[in-house]
Amino acid sequence: MSGLLKFTSLLDAGATKLGRASAWLMVALILVIMTDVTLRHWFVIGSTKLQELEWHLHGALFLLALGWAYTRDAHVRIELASERFSTRTKAWVELLGCCLFLLPYVAAVVWFGIDYVGYSLEYDEASPSATGLPHRWIIKAAIPLGFLTLGMAALSKLINASVFLFGTQEQARETSFGSPLNSAGGKND
């Protein structure tokens, strides 16, 4: 059992590392926009490449952080009814939600997403604009990759919820539902 929980912290750590790294794209994005604005307005050099780079960075930023945001409980929930649920009920919601909604959704997006990227790679699809960025498959690959991290975070949550619900009391305490520190994530934290 403790091996299983160790595995979940590995999954969480993977999603967290990638998400926290992608957060720094925020600074890169600010610098790219500043460069673009400076060149465009003071030197009258418009760059399609820089403008496309902006949404590339933005896309990568939120896609690669999808899994991390789930481990941090940042995805918004309607807590009107659920705030009165016991921790056990909450664990059930998480367990069923992951099995019935999140994991199938992740699987479908990853499955068809790989096709989608493969198609783009096959033709080495580039920007429709002649002066745009080449190799569009790179940013497209962020969709299945980001959803993969979401799947990792979901699998971890699923295992944690199962151990909490069906394990011994001692095992339950070691899950993310067992410690008040992890279960009490506010919406905006």
Partner: protein, 453 residues
């Protein structure tokens, strides 16, 4: 009787609602429900088993590959940076000193601050929590009337979704296929009008009954107001916001460019204050990324949901119903407004906008209001502003106002829910007055964009 297949898109919504209240993240409920109904359509032979590919392509084309949406993380970063580097707190302190001789000065300061700052936070939950934590303890310490204090904070905190640069207006512009700069312009007069309503109300109430909001005693003032303080804490953020909005309105910069400059400006302000330590920067970068990801995770889920809704023929059916029953523009508008108002009790604007707007976007521009609008081409703009004011009002309306719960959560034992309810009623009435005015005189919203052209 309609057949089962025709009923499917409506069944999607009926399934969605109870699931949303399970407390599972909305983004995943939306995506999962979309997938389930797509699977059902494949099972009964309505869809081919490869068409989910189109959903992925829609996620790329509709959410990732969008220049305008880049403005959202930038505005979130700008707001978070101003909050975490203490710019917001200084602004409140200075405002408070500037208005200390005026009855209700602190309440007036909070309104002004709400108007200035909530504009950059963009999420109701977050801005109301921030304002409650920052201003409520100070107001209560100065023995302000509890209902007055809470009403002021809740109303001003929610004004931010309307006041440009509003993230909500960026999302609406994208979904409705209109210009974000245009919506920003259209929102200026309505949001200033509402802020003015608040100010006049607070000033009138506290002038008549000064005990509701005792002015600051001279001995309480630790440091007198100096020109240096105003220059240091008040002028820079105000200049920044004016520059960002000015360059959009002046047509000098796109919203995306202006948002990037605004984010850079916030970084610069933090640096000038000596607050730009690595830990603060990392905190701001990570927080704003989490907020951005929450929003775009929801955007992706809603895209999957509404794309499957369209695949199942939902849009055509709604169009068909409206056309075949001969429902006029006013009736459609009224139904939508009531629906949005009721949804606002339970959901933040993000969910409402992302779920409802894609369904109705195709028909809004074609609604006919006769000669009520100066130009039928402005219907979308007028509708967006009405929806924004309506949502803001809905967040404030007891007993279920979304913002009120957030406020109670942040204030904990400082105030009763009853004080909050009592305090918000006058503000809700002011909101309704504003909403009615914009309904009756569309020029309030449409005048500025027309003259700016």
């Amino acid at each position: 009787m309609i057949s089962f297949v025709e009923f499917l898109p409506f069944l999607m919504f009926l399934t969605l609602v109870p699931l949303l209240f399970s407390g599972f993240p909305i983004a995943f409920v939306l995506g999962g429900t979309g997938l389930a109904f797509w699977g059902l359509a494949v099972l009964i032979g309505l869809e081919n088993p490869n068409s989910f590919f189109l959903v992925v392509s829609r996620i790329f084309g509709g959410v990732v590959n969008k220049q305008l949406l880049v403005a959202i993380p930038m505005f979130i970063f700008m707001g978070t940076m101003m909050e975490k580097s203490g710019i917001a707190r200084d602004l409140l302190n200075t405002l408070q000193l500037m208005t200390r001789r005026i009855p209700g000065g602190l309440a007036l300061s909070v309104t002004l601050l709400g108007a200035i700052l909530a504009a950059t936070t963009g999420i109701i939950g977050a801005s109301v929590v921030m304002m409650t934590l920052m201003a409520l303890p100070v107001m209560l310490e100065r023995s302000y009337d509890k209902p007055l204090a809470t009403g002021t904070i809740a109303a001003s905190g929610t004004l931010g979704i309307l006041l440009p640069p509003s993230i909500m207006l960026v999302v609406m512009a994208d979904l409705l296929g209109t210009s974000a700069g245009g919506l920003f312009l259209a929102a200026v007069v309505p949001s200033l009008m509402l802020a003015a309503f608040y100010l006049v109300y607070i000033f009138a109430r506290t002038s008549l009954n000064p005990s509701l909001a005792p002015p600051m005693q001279d001995e309480e003032i630790e440091s007198p107001l100096t020109a240096g303080m105003v220059l240091k804490s008040f002028v820079p953020p105000l200049l920044l916001i004016t520059a960002v909005l000015g360059s959009i309105f002046g047509g000098i910069a796109t919203p995306t460019e202006a948002s990037g400059v605004g984010a850079f400006g916030a970084l610069l302000l933090a640096r000038l204050r000596g607050e730009l330590r690595f830990t603060i920067l990392r905190d701001v970068v990570e927080r704003s990324t989490l907020t951005t990801t929450m929003l775009f995770g929801l955007f992706i889920g809603a895209t999957a949901f509404s794309y499957v809704f369209a695949l199942l023929g939902g849009h055509d059916q709604i169009l068909h119903i409206i056309q075949s029953t001969g429902t006029g523009g006013w009736t459609v508008l009224l139904i939508l407004m009531i629906a949005v108002f009721l949804l606002g009790f339970f959901f933040d604007w993000i969910e409402i906008t992302l779920i409802i707007l894609p369904v109705f976007a195709p028909i809004i521009a074609h609604l006919d209001f006769g000669g009520h609008l100066p130009d039928p081409g402005l219907t979308t703009m007028w509708f967006a502003i009405l929806m924004a004011v309506n949502l803001q009002t809905s967040f404030l309306t007891p007993p279920f106002g979304f913002a009120l719960f957030y406020m109670k959560g942040a204030a904990a034992d400082l105030v009763d829910l009853r004080d909050i309810y009592k305090g918000i009623i006058p503000f809700v009435l002011l909101q309704l007055l504003g909403l009615l005015a914009i309904l009756m005189w569309p020029e309030i919203a449409l005048w500025l964009p027309t003259v700016a052209k």
